[in-house]
Each structure stands twice: as structure tokens, then as C-alpha cells.
């Protein structure tokens, strides 16, 4: 048991720091640090810079262009990225559909899709959930009916994150109604520009567009876009879901948010009260730090198991549950710190081109919208109730 970095790892850390110093535009860093949205272009530019450095495929096998990093290197990378206020890597392409393609896809699919994913040339979104298939994902109804060398797809996907930015969507579709419902599900890749695909916004509690409904009306999808075998989509998707859950935990970004909070408490800007005097509040800050430290070590244990070749197992549910709980604890701390300045809703005051009055302190405008929006983290990626069901069944054998 030891967590000391080797000399090579320390050198790697320097390299990562240098990368973020040199490649991350100040304006992007500022936005991320203040909870502002970055544009699609900023996001793509960042991911392309990672790719140019050979760092886009963090978890990918080397043969497909992955980094081949050890778990220590991944840990270093994600911590430095968060500390530098780099954007998060949008997971849908690089960490969700890619593992499915390189694990279960055909040779031809690998060659066709993986390079563009790695280079962030193509934006992917995730089409799993439906209006009546949320927690009960296997209850999904979007149908794909074989017609010669095409599938004809009809149905509705919902909660599709950043679907309005996406070029492609990976979907779970129903190809059979017989047998167990999990067995009639297939994994299909769909070009969003295909006739019959429509995207409609869903506005979330922060007043912004982040999710969408995606409608499929007689959409013709070539059969070569099917991953693996018909009816095996559920098995493929489950592999992906464990990856998704590890991703959602967000340990490194939470560490960054907490250390930023500490700095605010040490040097309160004008308009912020002196909360260090409030011992109850400080106890809550420290409680969050305790939970986060424990979680960080849980994550390290999972990562080190994964590095010995195991896929993240049901224990990834712990990361999802605790990671999201800690995020929401931190959201509440920020609400407290913002005080009355959590109230003003002046969207866009720190976006490009805004020239109206600004509300200080600088961190306050996003605090409440962020708190509202971030209630999502205990809901998406399998709700925390569902994660606990998984622990009860798969881990405790109940």
C-alpha cells in the first residue's frame, strides 16, 4: 500500500501542468472556474488540443490510439485538469461509445468511427432514455425494424444531453418483442442528419438548454451501423454504464471546487460575508472534505483494480452515489457562501459581449443555477436509488 508518485510520475505531472498552462485559453479557464458555459467550438478546440498531444483516449487501448497510461497517470491527469479548470471531456464519444466500438464493433466499424472520435471530429450523444423508460431502461420502446439492408427506426429518446450539438447518436433500440425485454435490445449508431430525426429542446431549472428530446420518424439506418449482434445491445450497454458511473463521480472537479471555496473563505471578496467565523459552516466544509477524501481513496482502489485488467464492477455504484452526494454537498456550501447574492438571476453577465451591470462577488451568479441544475447528478446515469438497488443485489446478495 503506497501512494507516492515515482520520479517518472512526477515528471509526467510537470508535463501535464505545462500542457494546461500553454494550451488552455485563459477565457475558457475563466468560464469553467466560474461555472459559465463554454461554446461547442471551445469544447471541441480543447479536445482537439488533447488529441494533438496524444492524450484524447485516456482509457483507450494503445492499439486504437489510447494513452496507455497507468492508473497513477490517469489520476494525475484528471487532478491537474481539474486544478487547471480545464473543461471536462464530453464523455459520449471518447468514453462511452468508443469503448463499445473497440470492444464489440467490427473491424470496419473501428476504422470508420474511432479515428473521428479520437480527434473530436464528430460529436456524439447518448440515446438510451425514453419518456417511459428511465430507471427501467430495458422497458424502452424505440423500434428498429429490419427492411432489406436498413433498419427503420421509430420512437422517442429523451434527456439527450447536448443532442443539439451532436452529429451522431448511439441508441438502444428494440429489435424484438419476444422473450426477456433485455434480450430484444440492440445497439445502433445513427447519423443525426438522417431524414426523420428531429431534436427539440428541454429547458432545465437553470433556464438553459442542456438536454433534448430526439424524435425518430421512419429513420432509415444502414444495417452496418449495428454494433455486434442483434439482441445483444443490453450486454454492451451495461459495460458502458459502469464506465459512465465512474465518470460521473467527478472526484477531481470536486476537489478543485472545494479548494476554490477554501480560498474564497480565506480571502473573502467584497460582497461575501466572513464565513470562517461560522464554526457550523466550517464543520460542514470539513465534513465534505472528509467524504471526498474517502471517496478519492475508494476511486483509487477501483482504478488500481481496473489497471490489473478488471472492468469496473458493481463498486462503481459507490463512486456514483458518493461522488454525486459530495458534489451536491459542495453546491450547498456555495449557496451559503453566496448569501443574498445567490438571488440575482442575471444570465450572461459573464458571457462574451455582455456590457450591462455586473453583480459581485464574481463567483455568485452561477451558484443558484448550478445548485438547481446539479440536482440532476443523483438522477442521471442511473438514479442513486437504482445504484443502491444494485449494491443490495449485486454486492450484498439480497
Amino acid at each position: 500500500m503506497n501512494i507516492d508518485f515515482t520520479e517518472q510520475e512526477l515528471a509526467f505531472r510537470e508535463e501535464v501542468r505545462a500542457f494546461f498552462r500553454e494550451e488552455l485559453p485563459e477565457q475558457v479557464r475563466y468560464k469553467i472556474d466560474n461555472g459559465l458555459r463554454i461554446s461547442r467550438d471551445d469544447q471541441v478546440a480543447y479536445q482537439k488540443a488533447l488529441h494533438a498531444k496524444g492524450w484524447a483516449g485516456v482509457n483507450w487501448p494503445v492499439e486504437y490510439g489510447g494513452t496507455g497510461w497507468s492508473s497513477a497517470q490517469k489520476y494525475i491527469f484528471f487532478n491537474e485538469a481539474a486544478e487547471a479548470a480545464a473543461p471536462r471531456i464530453i464523455p459520449f464519444g471518447l468514453s462511452m461509445v468508443a469503448p463499445v466500438i473497440y470492444t464489440f464493433g467490427s473491424e470496419e466499424q473501428k476504422q470508420r468511427f474511432l479515428p473521428d472520435i479520437l480527434a473530436s471530429n464528430v460529436w456524439w450523444c447518448q440515446g438510451y432514455s425514453e419518456p417511459n423508460a428511465g430507471s427501467d431502461l430495458a422497458g424502452l420502446k424505440t423500434k428498429a425494424v429490419r427492411d432489406g439492408d436498413h433498419y427503420i427506426v421509430n420512437g422517442t429518446k429523451t434527456w439527450t444531453t447536448l443532442g443539439h450539438y451532436a452529429d451522431w447518436i448511439f441508441c438502444l433500440v428494440r429489435t424484438s418483442d419476444t422473450g426477456r425485454k433485455q434480450e430484444g435490445i440492440s445497439f445502433l449508431l445513427i447519423d443525426m442528419k438522417t431524414p426523420g430525426v428531429t431534436v427539440k429542446p428541454i429547458i432545465t431549472l437553470d433556464g438553459r438548454r442542456e438536454v433534448n428530446e430526439v424524435f425518430f420518424e421512419d429513420v432509415r439506418v444502414p444495417v452496418e451501423n449495428l454494433i455486434g449482434e442483434e439482441g445483444k445491445g443490453w450486454t454492451y450497454a451495461k459495460v458502458l454504464l459502469t464506465h459512465e458511473r465512474t465518470n460521473i463521480a467527478g472526484v477531481a472537479p470536486s476537489k478543485h471546487r472545494l479548494s476554490t471555496l477554501r480560498k474564497l473563505l480565506d480571502n473573502p471578496p467584497a460582497g461575501m460575508g466572513n464565513l470562517r467565523q461560522n464554526s457550523l459552516f466550517m464543520a460542514r466544509v470539513i465534513q465534505a472534505e472528509v467524504e471526498l477524501k474517502a471517496l478519492e481513496f475508494t476511486e483509487l482502489r477501483v482504478l488500481s483494480a481496473v489497471s490489473t485488467g478488471k472492468a469496473p464492477g458493481p463498486e462503481s455504484s459507490i463512486l456514483k452515489i458518493k461522488g454525486t452526494e459530495v458534489q451536491q454537498m459542495i453546491d450547498e456550501l456555495y449557496l451559503e457562501v453566496a448569501g443574498y447574492y445567490a438571488l440575482p438571476f442575471v444570465p450572461g453577465q459573464y458571457e462574451d459581449g455582455y456590457d450591462g451591470v455586473r453583480i459581485e462577488p464574481h463567483f455568485a451568479p452561477d451558484v443558484a443555477p448550478h445548485y438547481y441544475n446539479n440536482r440532476k447528478v443523483t438522477i442521471y446515469g442511473g438514479t442513486n436509488e437504482i445504484q443502491k438497488n444494485i449494491i443490495a443485489k449485486a454486492v450484498l446478495g439480497l
Binding site: 417511459n132 427501467d136 431549472l205 448569501g339 440575482p344 451591470v357
Partner: protein, 379 residues
């Protein structure tokens, strides 16, 4: 001992419930929050006709002489409708100050207009460095000829955008933090030197940053006596905490109802999600918190009405309970609605937002707890 509503309270509750049901459905409210004014002027007139604007004022000034319990009944119903009309600002905060601190002449003149719906007011009290510490007043009023010059920055002044008049809390003596030397001024927001930056708030309301740059007011702008407004402010905030808590209780009840209803109809795994025991327990906890909050509200209303040292303590205890109950009920209502809970489309999220901001207003759970701890340690 009797917790039943009396006849007047029953009438008040019925008429408010009827108003919400007939004239204030969620989409109507949404349209109002997005309108230029941010609420409905004709609703305001209706409130006047229904006597709601007169509720807490003494009968000698044309009011209904209602007590804090009456106000609690009305505010609970307004909470259920997520009403955005500036009742809290005009009637409870500013009305309360006029009633407690105004001269008889001012009471006669101002209250008459308020209850007719002809005068709206906003309280410019909080300051960036002070927020909810009422005595931390840095805004100054310096004698200038026969009047005063006001300078300062008042933050998050609720409903300032449509106020005909502001009540500005300013320091005429002592230093920030002193209870003595605090004075109230009636200030016309359109007057030279008063600068308003209006914005919507995160819960569907409106507020403003108010900057006072050498604002000249006459001696007649003084509301009540000079230097000793603190007790009136404190008493008014205690009552406002009770009224705000009543709104919160109405919101929590609505959230619980909506959640129970949703869990009965939303099906996953071929059954209503309300079948799952974890969710049943969660809703049982929400129910318990709603009831505990209501009990605390009654305690707070009765105790704060009596005034004195106990009133401030009761208000603080109440605000702590409203904070914790509101947090649980609001967060779980969203959680149990799944993705729908975080949409702008559904009313649930908007109730949740207001409940969140209610915790912040007039001191959060943490702030009040900490003050209670300091007091206990000092004792």
C-alpha cells in the same frame, strides 16, 4: 388550547385558495414572472378589494387588525400558489415598519394608500457586507441644512423595480454594528442620486441593487424618530420570518402532494414507482418534515406575536426548522420526479427554487443556528 382556524381565518383561507385555483394556475404565474412588471397589477387591486392588504394593520388606520396567525393562514395559501405579487415587501416588511415606527400622521397617510393598493414599497435594508445582520448598516445619512444626504449601497432589494417608495435603512449615528443610530427614510426611487439596477431573482421574483449617491431628502422623509429604528426593524424581521415560513409550509405541502400524486401514476418496472418501499419511506419522511415545520410555524407565530426577547429566539428557531425541512422536502420532491424534476416545464422545480431562496432570505439555517450557538455560549 385550540389550533383550529377561527371564522375569519377560515374565510381568509377559502378566499385565498379560491383565488389560487381560479386565477393563479402555474402557467398564469409563469406568464406573470416573464412579463415586464413581473406580477399582475390587477391581482394587486384584487388583493386590496379582498382586504388582504389591510390584514395586519390596526383598525384605527383602516386595517383589519389581524394578528400573526391570520397572516400565517394567508401566507400559507399564497405559498401554495407560488404567488409573486409584492405582498411581503409592501405589507409585511414596509407596512410593518410604518405601523411600528411611523408617526401617527405617517401611519394615517401611508397605510391608507397601502391598503387601497395605491402605494407599493420596498425595503432597502441589506448591504453587501452585512446581508442579514440588520444592525450592520454602513449607509450614511448626514445632516445637510434642514434635510439629509444619503450615501450607500443596498443589495438585493426585493421588489424595488415597481416600488413607489423605498424605505432606506441608514445610519445617523454610531458605527456599523451599533444598534443605536439607525434611522429609516422614505425615498422616492426616481429622485436624483438613486440608481437602481433591476434584475429577476432565481425564484421568479424581482430585486435590485440600489445605490444612493448624495441623495438629498428633507427632514419630512424621516420615517418615525431618528436614531432608534432598530427595535422596529428587529420586530418586523421576526414577523417577516414567520410570514416567510408560512409561505414555505404552503410550498412544502404542495411539493409533498405533487410527489405522492406523481409516484402513484408514474410507472417503471411495470408498476407505480410508489410501490417501491424506499420511495414510500422518503415520502413518509417528507410528510413528517412538513408536519414538523407546520408545528414550528405555529410555535413561531404565537411566540413572535408576543414580542420581547423570546420573539427573536422563536423566529430563529423557526427559520432553522424551515431550512432543514425545506431542504429535505424540496430536494426529495425533485429526486422522486426523476428527470422531470429538473425541468423548467414542471411546477415542482419552481417550488423547489423558491424554497431554496427562502432559506437564504432573512438568514439561512446555518446563520441562525450559529447565532443561537453564540448566544448559548455567551449565556
Amino acid at each position: 388550547m385550540d389550533f383550529a382556524l377561527n371564522d375569519i381565518q377560515q374565510m381568509l383561507q377559502d378566499s385565498a385558495a379560491k383565488f389560487i385555483k381560479n386565477d393563479y394556475d402555474f402557467e398564469t404565474r409563469r406568464a406573470l414572472t416573464e412579463s415586464e412588471l413581473g406580477y399582475s397589477q390587477s391581482n394587486w387591486q384584487l388583493f386590496a378589494e379582498l382586504g388582504w392588504l389591510a390584514l395586519p394593520f390596526a383598525e384605527e388606520f383602516g386595517g383589519m387588525g389581524g394578528d400573526l396567525s391570520d397572516l400565517v393562514v394567508l401566507q400559507t395559501e399564497l405559498g401554495r400558489g407560488l404567488v409573486v405579487e409584492p405582498f411581503l415587501s409592501t405589507v409585511i416588511l414596509c407596512g410593518g415598519l410604518i405601523q411600528r415606527h411611523g408617526s401617527d400622521a405617517q401611519k394615517g397617510e401611508l397605510i391608507e394608500k397601502v391598503l387601497a393598493g395605491e402605494l407599493k414599497l420596498a425595503l432597502a435594508s441589506a448591504e453587501p457586507q452585512a446581508q442579514t445582520r440588520v444592525e450592520d448598516v454602513a449607509t450614511t445619512a448626514v445632516a445637510d441644512g434642514d434635510g439629509y444626504l444619503l450615501n450607500g449601497h443596498k443589495c438585493v432589494v426585493l421588489d424595488a423595480h415597481s416600488a413607489d417608495m423605498l424605505i432606506v435603512v441608514a445610519r445617523t449615528g454610531g458605527v456599523a454594528g451599533d444598534r443605536d443610530g439607525i434611522t429609516l427614510f422614505l425615498v422616492d426611487p426616481n429622485q436624483a442620486g438613486v440608481e437602481l439596477f433591476n434584475y429577476p431573482t432565481n425564484d421568479g421574483g424581482r430585486a435590485a441593487e440600489v445605490r444612493l449617491n448624495r441623495v438629498r431628502v428633507s427632514a419630512g422623509a424621516l420615517l418615525g424618530d431618528k436614531d432608534n429604528a432598530f427595535p422596529a426593524l428587529e420586530a418586523t424581521f421576526n414577523h417577516a420570518i414567520v410570514a416567510l415560513s408560512a409561505e414555505a409550509v404552503g410550498i412544502m405541502d404542495r411539493l409533498l402532494e405533487a410527489t405522492v400524486e406523481y409516484c402513484k401514476v408514474r410507472k417503471q418496472f411495470d408498476q407505480p414507482i410508489g410501490n417501491f418501499q424506499v420511495l414510500q419511506h422518503r415520502m413518509a419522511e417528507m410528510f413528517i418534515e412538513c408536519q414538523q415545520a407546520r408545528s414550528m410555524l405555529y410555535f413561531g407565530a404565537i411566540t413572535a406575536a408576543a414580542g420581547g426577547e423570546e420573539a427573536a429566539r422563536a423566529a430563529a428557531l423557526l427559520k432553522v426548522k424551515i431550512g432543514s425541512a425545506g431542504r429535505l422536502v424540496g430536494q426529495q420532491a425533485v429526486q422522486l420526479h426523476g428527470g422531470m424534476g429538473v425541468t423548467d416545464e414542471l411546477d415542482v422545480g419552481h417550488f423547489f427554487k423558491r424554497l431554496t431562496m427562502i432559506n437564504t432570505l432573512f438568514g439561512s439555517q446555518d446563520e441562525h443556528l450559529q447565532r443561537l450557538v453564540f448566544k448559548a455560549q455567551a449565556a
